[in-house]
């Protein structure tokens, strides 16, 4: 039986992690169908049909799907599930919110946040904030799996031409009402997919001081991250949080500034290719995972860092 991928999108276009989830789905079975549920989402459905790994697109439209409410999405997928061996989507807030609702309806035990497909029934997943890896075999007839997007490469996005089939909408769930979404718009790259991330922690001491990080991020074309402590203190908004209960990032370069390196933070960034730590406490645990550690006062080091970057003839983007 084929694998059903749940596409994540904003009604206009696919969200980037759909491509990573498609890769994971294709590693489970080469026969991947993708379902897209939304309103006026035809453009995103077309994009989905162009992914070469996707063999068929199922499109479900309805006004009650505009805001991706799990209570409305789940019945559609549960109905489709009888034709599929696996249901797959990203383990970001979209998939985390939705997939367990589907799994419970199907009476199947979900496997969350996998980082590797070992076989169609066996997966590797981190537990304890990534301090252990568990190999999990699912003995359910139908398997609901969420994937850690940064552990799978995005699939090719063009060249496919899967047929798009319309599927009937399900009834609206009337007890949940969407009010508003406050998205923080930025010209910077998305945190989850950025090549470089510059993150600040409690050591930044104020939201104002984050401009030292912003400057450097803009110079490097980087996304801005933060530790939970910095978000809790109100220095920066929650969408920047990296860690066990925030986002997982795997950039080529991660620069941790004024972050001590609690295991909960390390869980979100320690797979980065190159890690830099700038901290005045030489004993801070962040140095144990850093390729390059600089023991210095960040208020002196960051302006110097900016100066040194300005001296460079070229900066990779």
């Amino acid at each position: 039986m084929a694998v059903l991928l749940i596409a994540e999108h904003n009604n206009k276009e696919l969200r980037p992690f759909t491509l990573n989830a498609a890769t994971a789905a294709s590693q489970i079975d080469s026969d991947v169908h993708a379902v897209i549920i939304g309103q006026n989402s035809a453009d995103a459905a077309k994009q989905l049909s162009e992914l070469p790994v996707v063999k068929k697109v199922l499109s479900v439209e309805g006004a009650h799907y505009e805001n991706f409410t799990a209570e409305n999405f789940a019945p559609v997928i549960v109905k489709l599930a009888e034709n599929y061996s696996h249901i797959v989507c990203s383990a970001n807030t979209f998939g985390k919110n939705l997939m367990p609702r589907i799994a419970a309806h199907l009476d199947t035990s979900q496997v969350s946040d996998i980082i590797k497909v070992i076989s169609p029934d066996t997966f590797l997943r981190p537990i304890y904030a990534g301090n252990a890896f568990a190999t999990i075999k699912s003995n359910d007839a139908k398997r609901c799996v969420t994937i850690r997007p940064t552990s799978f490469d995005p699939c090719e996005s063009t060249g496919g031409s899967a047929p798009i089939e319309k599927v009937d909408a399900s009834e609206e769930f009337s007890n949940t009402k969407f009010i508003k979404r406050e998205e923080i718009k930025s010209d910077r790259p998305e945190l989850g997919t950025a090549r470089i991330v510059v993150s600040g922690g409690r050591g930044m001491q104020s939201g104002d001081n984050f401009k030292l990080i912003t400057e450097i991020a803009d110079k490097l074309g980087a996304a801005i991250g933060a530790s939970r402590a910095a978000v809790d203190a109100g220095y920066i908004s929650n969408d920047h949080q990296v860690g066990q209960t925030g986002k997982v990032v795997v950039p080529d370069l991660y620069i941790a500034v004024g972050i001590s390196g609690a295991i909960q933070h390390l869980a979100g960034m320690k797979e980065s290719k190159v890690i830099v730590a700038i901290n005045k406490d030489g004993e801070a645990p962040i140095f144990s995972v850093a390729d390059y550690g600089l023991e210095a006062d960040l208020f002196e080091a960051l302006p110097q860092f900016m100066e040194e970057l300005n001296k460079l003839n070229t900066i990779q983007k």
Partner: protein, 249 residues
Amino acid sequence: MKILVAVKRVIDYNVQIRVKEDGTGVVTDNVKMSTNPPDDNAIEEAVKIKEAGKASEVVAITVGEEKAQETVRKALAVGADRGIHVKVDGTLEPLAVSKILQKIVDKEKPDLVFMGKQAIDDDCNQTGQMLSALLNWPQATFASKIDVKENKLEVTREIDEGLETIEINVPAIVTCDLRLNEPRYASLPNIMKAKKKPIEEIAASDLGVDVSPRLEQLKVEEPPKRKAGIKVANVAELVQKLKNEAKVI
């Protein structure tokens, strides 16, 4: 309004996890255990709602072995009125826990069920959503703000893109984020008082729920370790290394 709050006993968040040499799990003997951190936020929020006169009773529940009762006792010490301990040996999958909670909801008839958004041991992030599916109730996951209105809640949720606000009709499930509130500490007099509060013990086997595992944990291993790096003397050296050695800028 009556609020049921589910709490889980986990390895304390400060403990450095060690994987057992035989690959069957992680070391839990002589390791400090605590309430799962966002479950503390769930209890705190329920108690605050009661203190604001908007809830009549807060019931704390845990599903787990003998010692899991400590987490219920702690919830009683910070303001929950009574406790329920569903006793079971070993660990259960979130699906099984949500089925047990469903049975308790059928019996207790709460208006709201709160719990943490994820447990920091298995990092599954499933139980609340599964329970709301089984009950066909609305779900507000990753809540960082809850406004109680008449027969409904307005909940702000932390999502990847920022914040989302939804309105859910009661009865409903809310899973709590760490930023929802600042959990209080139990005072000594309240810890003493909590010892007199009732905890009902129920054997999971009496609930008529199939809790048999669907997943097999074949192996638990240490993640690959990062090689130790170097310390650089100054910013100029750092930038030079990033440019010429790591070649990332």
